[in-house]
Symmetry: C2
């Protein structure tokens, strides 16, 4: 295992410290327990947004803390859910009195721990709504999940619900926007290589030199099947087809096309995938109105990508375009 780390057990702590040092005007890093808040949290009158999950998916979630997106992020150990004793103070810090929306990727540990924290927060008088993200069409249940996993769509839920909170929507309205994004986004991913969890020290699974895993999860958990290596257009078709079918994309639909890198794949390759996906959507008569290409929800140094398609309407498009100022997404500010 060759990684730019010191003590494998200190990876999250030191990485979060470095993140805080790099963005001192944007975020505050709290330790013991660890969570990251927007510098100006809580923002008076605004619904708070909190997300979190296992580390190793950076920039998700801390990289999305800031104006127009999250008020707080809660990183667990690598690929391990954060605990309620982290999520609770993050929730309290995000609450200005207007309540807090938890955005939770559908993994059993995350769901349970956010649920516990929500109950504790309610007991302290904070209203909490939960948006469960489950956009992965690859598998119905999986290693860590009952039901579909939450993957790339999480980034879009956080951006768009964040914009709804920023414009002043109330608690139920922000949660409803988040639910609507989740209902209109689907994702599927592929791994060309495994990744290595630092405290484990060995790759989380084995892939032969000529083999890829279609429908991979963001923790390297199994997807639909392993197949021999194919070219980018073939792989893109295998990912996009189930996404479009499940979403029922038809001629005239407007969409946001999101090609996400898993961490170890060059941007140049993501553009080759984007090219094919855009061509397929155009052939279907759909209009790609917005795009996002890059490493936004990763699996450490895994090579591979995921493709997300979000069906847009005028409101979602407007909320996507609204100003955002975070470490990983920024425009209009």
């Amino acid at each position: 295992m060759k990684k730019l780390i010191n003590d494998p057990r200190a990876v999250v702590e030191e990485s979060v410290q470095g993140f805080g040092l790099a963005y001192p005007n944007l975020v505050t890093v709290s330790t013991d327990p660890t969570f990251i808040t927007r510098k100006d949290a809580p923002v008076g009158g605004k619904v708070g947004l909190v997300s979190g999950g296992g580390s190793g998916h950076e920039p998700l979630h801390a990289g999305f803390v800031g104006l127009g997106m999250l008020d707080a992020a809660v990183p667990g150990a690598v690929f391990t859910s954060p605990t309620p004793d982290q999520i609770l103070p993050a929730t309290l810090a995000a609450n200005s009195g207007a309540g807090v929306v938890h955005i939770v990727k559908n993994y059993t540990g995350d769901v349970l721990n956010f649920e516990t924290a929500a109950e504790l927060a309610e007991a302290e008088g904070v209203s909490v709504r939960t948006v469960l993200v489950n956009d992965d069409v690859a598998v119905e249940d999986s290693l860590y999940t009952a039901g579909r996993r939450g993957v790339g769509g999480t980034v879009l839920v956080e951006k768009i619900a964040g914009a709804a909170a920023e414009r002043g929507d109330d608690l139920d309205a922000v949660a409803a926007v988040g639910e609507r994004v989740n209902a209109n986004v689907r994702t599927m991913g592929v791994a060309l290589s495994a990744c290595t969890v630092p405290h484990a020290g060995t790759p989380s699974f084995d892939l032969a030199e000529d083999e890829i895993e279609i429908g991979i999860g963001i923790h390297g958990e199994p997807g639909r099947h392993r197949i021999p290596m194919e070219n980018a257009d073939g792989i893109t078709d295998r990912l996009l087809e189930p996404v479009l079918a499940d979403l029922g994309i038809t001629s005239g639909d407007k969409v946001l096309l999101f090609v996400n890198g898993m961490g170890g794949t060059p941007l140049s390759e993501l553009y080759i995938v984007y090219r094919r996906a855009a061509q397929v959507l155009a052939d279907r008569g759909a209009t790609v109105d917005r795009s996002l290409v890059g490493n936004y929800i990763t699996a450490l140094e895994m090579q591979g990508c995921s493709i997300s398609v979000l069906r847009l309407d005028d409101e979602l498009t407007g909320l996507w375009d609204a100003p955002v100022h975070t470490a990983a997404l920024r425009w209009g500010v």
Copy 2:
């Protein structure tokens, strides 16, 4: 070789096509020959900025085309200089009558081909100035270079000279700002793994499982020496020390600290490197006033990073903060 590509010989063409499809409102992709221009180029009255070089370093350079940065980018084949017949039309397209600055990384092929293109452009009545970037302190001469190589500092030259052009500086003044950034920035990098050029099909060099290359170039060309794997703090010290010594950083200096990923290293690890580098600078009494962390000038899927330090003054800081709207850097717009 597992890559998300189709025909290895079509990698640059298809990637650039995908890039154009992802950012239709930002850039225009010209083919035969291939170059990328800002959608609204040439911008009346503004000095044009053109850069380019071998592909495989994405988002550099096409990802920096747009308001406040480059007017055109010229991608060569992977790790291969673009040709004068590409650079010339890009230069003409960037020229609004105020002349064009070429920002050239110091590699022999790039220098020669940009020089030829500059002469051809001058013959067509376009004034051209060249800013040569040579910020790499690792080696004096190298495989592809007489003198120091141009690496991470290039991103900072393009951003800051781009802002000078955008505020209306004339041709000599924009070039002078670019020279001043180059004079005040130094960089050194490390590789934990090699990368594979698609049309070659095998790794560009060999590194043992317990070995890293200090002072690596962005094409995998040799650096200073190979050493056994170390922890992140140790590696950071090895990169930062020569940078600070060469730049003569002393107590009271204000700097921009740029930790750049080589393409295959997770963001979480870059933050661990940033943490140490920020601590060392603080111990020296220097103030890290601005930061940049991420994959901005890469070597395909190479694992590793580079550290750049730019000595700031009020003018350079103001130009850094000025609005920018490109695929890879965006704020204020």
